[in-house]
Amino acid sequence: MKQKIVKWMTPVVFLVLIFGMAVANLLSPTRGFSESENRYLKTMPKFSWKTLLDGTFTADFEKFLTDQFIGRDSFIGVKTESEYLLGKRDTNSVYFGKRGYLLEKKTSHDLDEQLEKNLGYLDEFTERAAAELGADHVRVLMAPTASLLEADKLPAYAPIYDQQAVLDELESRLPEGVYVDAAGVLQAHAGEELYYRTDHHWTTLGAFYGYQAYMQSLGLPVKQPSDFTTEVVSESFYGTHYSKARLVTTRPDRIIRWLPQTPQGGFQVDYNGGQKQGDSLYDESFLSKRDKYSYFLGGNNALVTIRSSNLNGKRLLLVKDSYAHSMVPFFADEYESIHMVDLRYYNGKLSEYIPQEGITDVLVLYNTTTFTSDIGVPKMAL
């Protein structure tokens, strides 16, 4: 008996492992969207002789198996945890920072010619806008990211690109007065909760300081924190960095909404030219989903226009990435209308849009890291 156990144990264990998991995978239902990864998972590819012969069917089929693998999220968690225990301090381009911070990993080696191109396109665009609208009406706000302002939370000796150098280079290139020194303003508040621990965005507080920097540079009156009441809208926000680096010990972030003490007039918000309309700068529906940052202005859209009840004739073209979403509510009523364009998705021409909508002011708002590699920026030339 004992001999038999010794003889058969290994084969039986192995067969149970591979057959067990094979059957479990067969029986488990196909998932469409992954909340934890915030992306659509690959589903069973359609068979055709053509795709079989050119190799796309087999490649897609393997992606399908991997994406739909049973217990996928737990397995990825195990992997990340094992990397951490092994002493690694980064995975999937995210650093396991100190005090529970997950920070972007972008090193000087990751910077390529796209940065130089983007600087060129941005400079050209602002020069043109300044010539048309006047330099007083054009601003560029490059939001610093956590890897600059929370550099002390990076793992020891973690290589990171020189963000300040990028900002300095940008400032030196832009026409006089156009550059908004958001980094300087945020730096004065170092130590406050300017960034989410699990996400690549700034917090509402960080965005508020961004707003202050913007208003100061325009010479407009600046609201103070005491002008707002705050409200926690979510305490269970796991952001984009967590999706890439799922350490079990990570605590969720809080999302806070700032409400002005003096009530604002209403807003009319239009998404993608009539695709959807609303009257709020916030989309509550995202609070019950994974992608909670999209609570602010409904996440990434090609074109969002906000009309306020302040009919002062000021119309702002806001060329931006998602850092703008949490900052816009602070100054939405400073303009009659704000036209938010995301060049990653927007396919129209800005040179036509500006006269067509009677744009009076332009703000370009990106975070430095996105800007260094964003492939939408060259569309500014259109």
Partner: protein, 472 residues
């Protein structure tokens, strides 16, 4: 298809095992042949024809060689061997080396012959060497010709060793091909080899491979000495654990189906000379070249000048076998020179010197060889050398070097131990000491289950899982 994939582990392998053990013995080679074709065609749906062609060529050539030999017509038999070699080498030459040749001819004579841009059929260097060795073995009388084309097809296409070796010479499994006996204890052996190999590839090689990938991609001009050495050390570990991991998986799978392939690696980084290194590294390739090139050329039973020539020929060929590019030729030449030097000069000293001298000497030269091996672009290889020896003026270390060092220290430690026989010996002792064989088995299985689930979690994330032998 590769072994280190979810597709292989949870679809292909279960189905194949089920089919294989469900059918009577006489069908099993047929099953192996059939599933091996699917295994190959999964990634190479067109080139599978090429493999079948090579199979057919040597099946017929083997039969003819034997027939001519039996009739005493040695000349005709020799002619058949020559014909098989020409066909196989022509296949290999055309699909692997044509563009390399055209490119060099163009460069040399200022011509503009268009390149063919053929994708290299996976495993072509492995299976052409196997089929050639078969015909040669039959000619030498070391094996009988295989009359059953299914059995022969199973030998050539045998999926465990099809795409990354070991190069199984026909004579070593001729007997097993038709008279093997699968059983539980050999299956167990197979499982433990397979699990070991899977862990080596997925957990060790891939993990350290990421370090090499990031470092080798950096600008060499600003690479400090320490980072460069961490990088090449990482590559040395990656290629060893990747390649030997594949061989382990191949040997393990072979066991499951009742085959015993010869070993392909034997702790090469423990060597005290380059001569010893090549007896422990990719053994099946070294054996193939020794038996089919070196010895036929006269080996070491000829004058010193001819011995040098023989070694030079073998090592140039070994180099270029690894890929159609100058750096591989240089890599082979480098080892050729070292082996000639050792044979006639250095080995005497190395034997007398303390052990650590041999270890340091060997590891240093092997690390240098990996730089030549790793960069197709010779000028990139040169700049990497400059970084390793501080000639680029980038200093000894920077913050990044420190980061790479401390975040991989534990991994390097594990790799270092796993590259020696220490772990194996300790495990052996532990199992011996355990009073109950059942407890020993439980412990062993628990270890493998751990490796298995950890490997699966790395495969599910699918972030980095390269196939390194697409150039072979």
């Amino acid at each position: 298809m590769v072994f280190s994939s979810l597709l292989f582990l949870f679809l292909f392998l279960p189905v194949v095992l089920l089919l294989y053990f469900a059918v009577p013995r006489s069908w099993r080679n047929g099953i192996l042949f059939f599933v091996s074709l699917i295994f190959y065609a999964w990634g190479e749906p067109v080139y599978v024809v090429l493999m079948l062609f090579s199979t057919l060529v040597d099946y017929t050539h083997g039969l003819w060689v034997e027939k001519f030999k039996e009739r005493g017509n040695i000349r005709a038999a020799k002619g058949m061997v020559l014909s098989s070699m020409i066909i196989n080498l022509a296949l290999l030459g055309f699909f692997k080396y044509a563009d390399f040749l055209i490119g060099n001819v163009n460069g040399l004579f200022g011509l503009n012959i268009p390149l063919l841009h053929l994708a290299l059929p996976i495993g072509i260097s492995f299976y052409t060497f196997q089929t050639m060795s078969y015909t040669i073995d039959v000619y030498r009388g070391e094996a009988r010709a295989q009359r059953n084309i299914i059995s022969f097809g199973a030998y050539v296409a045998l999926f465990p060793q099809l795409i990354a070796g070991p190069i199984v010479q026909y004579k070593t499994i001729a007997e097993q091909l038709n008279h093997r006996q699968e059983d539980a204890s050999q299956f167990s052996e197979g499982v433990s080899r397979f699990m070991t190999g899977l862990g080596k590839k997925v957990l060790l090689a891939n993990n350290i491979g990421m370090v090499w990938d990031s470092i080798s991609g950096m600008d060499h001009g600003s690479l400090p000495v320490l980072t460069a050495w961490i990088g090449i050390l990482a590559f040395a570990f990656q290629i060893y654990f990747d390649f030997s991991g594949y061989s382990d998986m191949a040997i393990g799978l072979g066991h499951m189906f009742g085959f015993r392939f010869l070993e392909n690696f034997n702790y090469p980084y423990l060597s005290k000379s380059i001569t010893e290194f090549w007896r422990r590294w990719h053994i099946s390739l070294g054996t193939w070249f020794r038996e089919n090139v070196y010895i036929p050329l006269g080996g070491n039973r000829v004058s010193v000048a001819k011995q040098v020539r023989n070694l030079a020929v073998v090592w140039m060929l070994t180099g270029i076998w690894h890929g159609a590019s100058w750096n591989f030729l240089l890599w082979g030449g480098y080892f050729g020179v070292l082996l000639i030097l050792e044979k006639f000069l250095l080995l005497k000293f190395l034997k007398k010197a303390p052990g650590w001298v041999g270890h340091v000497y060997t590891l240093f030269l092997v690390l240098v060889s990996w730089v030549i091996f790793a960069f197709d672009d010779l000028s990139r290889g040169m700049t990497y050398f400059q970084a390793m020896f501080g000639l680029n003026g980038a200093g000894f270390l920077n913050g990044e070097s420190v980061y790479y060092l401390y975040t991989n220290l534990l991994l390097f430690l594990i790799l270092g131990i796993a590259a020696t026989s220490l772990g194996k010996n300790l495990a052996g002792k532990l199992l011996e000491r355990m009073k109950s064989p059942v407890a020993g088995k439980v412990l062993q299985n628990a270890f493998f289950i751990g490796i298995f689930f950890l490997s699966v979690s790395y495969l599910v994330d699918a972030s980095y899982n390269p196939f390194l032998y697409f150039r072979f």
